[in-house]
């Protein structure tokens, strides 16, 4: 019971984690845009936290900037481009496909293909041998029977 109580307290403590600002939005759609943008933009100061979650000053300033840009009527892509122009691809949680990042997608696919090829080749090369060996064994048994 006591343990459960402690656990419950921890859950409440962690749920109150994300940083809060007071922003007033024109439409619910704009608010949704703001929330999704701050969730997918990455704080350049803190390692692996989005700017919605971080309380670093830079994250605070970036939220303010996202808000200002949305108020100006900028689209989501424009806001992302604005941040990328300043902090690089690092700032967005969706990496663009370049020669360097291509391997993130290509490596698993290549692995599966090679593994399949490997399995298929091994099967086809070992199966006949197996059958031949078994046939030989059977023949030998038959021979024994005859004697």
């Amino acid at each position: 019971m006591k343990r459960l109580f402690v656990l419950l307290n921890l859950i409440i403590a962690f749920s109150a984690f994300s940083a809060e600002d007071n922003f007033a939005f024109d439409t619910p759609a704009q608010r949704a845009q703001f929330l999704s943008l701050t969730a997918e933009l990455r704080c350049p100061m803190c390692q692996n936290q989005n700017i919605a979650d971080s309380d670093a000053m830079i994250a605070h300033d970036m939220r303010r900037k996202v808000y200002a840009l949305l108020k100006e009527g900028k689209s989501e892509q424009e806001v992302i481009d604005f941040m990328k122009a300043r902090y690089g691809d690092f700032v967005h949680y969706q990496p663009p496909v370049t020669i360097a990042t291509m391997w993130l997608w290509a490596a698993p696919v290549l692995f599966v293909i090679f593994a399949l090829l490997f399995v298929v080749r091994r099967k086809s090369s070992t199966a006949p041998q197996d059958i031949k060996a078994k046939l030989a064994k059977a023949d030998a048994l038959l021979e024994q029977e005859k004697e």
Partner: protein, 212 residues
């Protein structure tokens, strides 16, 4: 015969993994590719920290090799590097310009007055030395955002034409100066001198006067 290469494959994969992870041990996750390197400063019109009537634009930083130092009184590392920067200014004549921003001065809910900030800055510079020719006050931290600043201290080395040639994140100490910032600074100063020499040469051609 045929089996040998197959046995080698896991070994090769394993050593590739080891090399990859080994490199990761020494890479700095904070190091980002600066987006502003090779570009001129972004547009701004900002006041002087001490005399808010004076305003600066990117043109104010042209004509001389300059190191822009992003700092604030709340930044501990800035206080640590300040005596060394002052030493560089005194001994080598390096021109430092401060890009000051305050953490507590929230643009939306200001909690600190400008006089208070000025007092803190004055007392800090008195204690650790003042390397700055002047301080630009980035009131809303917009220019810092445009420059891709993630915190303080950070440094931008500008050539005489006001183009950003290096973005150094972190403090400048003796090791950093000797290995990273110093060589570029000397090179830029040499470049700037050779350019002005050409101008002087053409001047002498026009007027027919010879340098002493």
């Amino acid at each position: 015969m045929k089996k040998a290469p197959l046995v080698v494959i896991p070994l090769v994969l394993f050593s590739m993994l080891v090399i990859f992870l080994f490199q990761g041990l020494f890479s700095d996750p904070r190091e980002l590719d600066s987006q502003v390197k090779g570009k001129p400063l972004p547009e701004f019109t900002l006041p002087d920290l001490m005399q808010p009537d004076t305003t600066y634009t990117p043109d104010s930083l042209k004509g001389e090799v300059t190191i822009v130092n992003v700092w604030g009184v709340w930044c501990v590392t800035c206080a640590v590097e300040m005596p060394y920067l002052t030493q560089l200014k005194d001994e080598l004549g390096v021109k430092f310009v401060g890009l000051y921003f305050d953490q507590d001065l929230d643009p939306d809910f200001g909690t600190k007055t400008l006089t208070r900030v000025q007092q803190e800055v004055t007392s800090m510079l008195r204690r650790y030395g003042n390397p700055y020719a002047f301080n630009i006050f980035d009131v809303y931290r917009d220019t810092s955002l445009d420059l891709g600043v993630t915190g303080a201290p950070e440094h931008f080395v500008l050539d005489a034409n006001g183009v950003i040639r290096m973005h150094h994140i972190g403090d400048i100490n003796e090791r950093v100066w000797q290995n990273k910032v110093g060589p570029l600074y000397q090179q830029l100063v040499a470049e700037a001198n050779s350019e002005t020499n050409i101008v002087v040469d053409s001047d002498t051609d026009d007027t027919g006067r010879v340098e002493e």
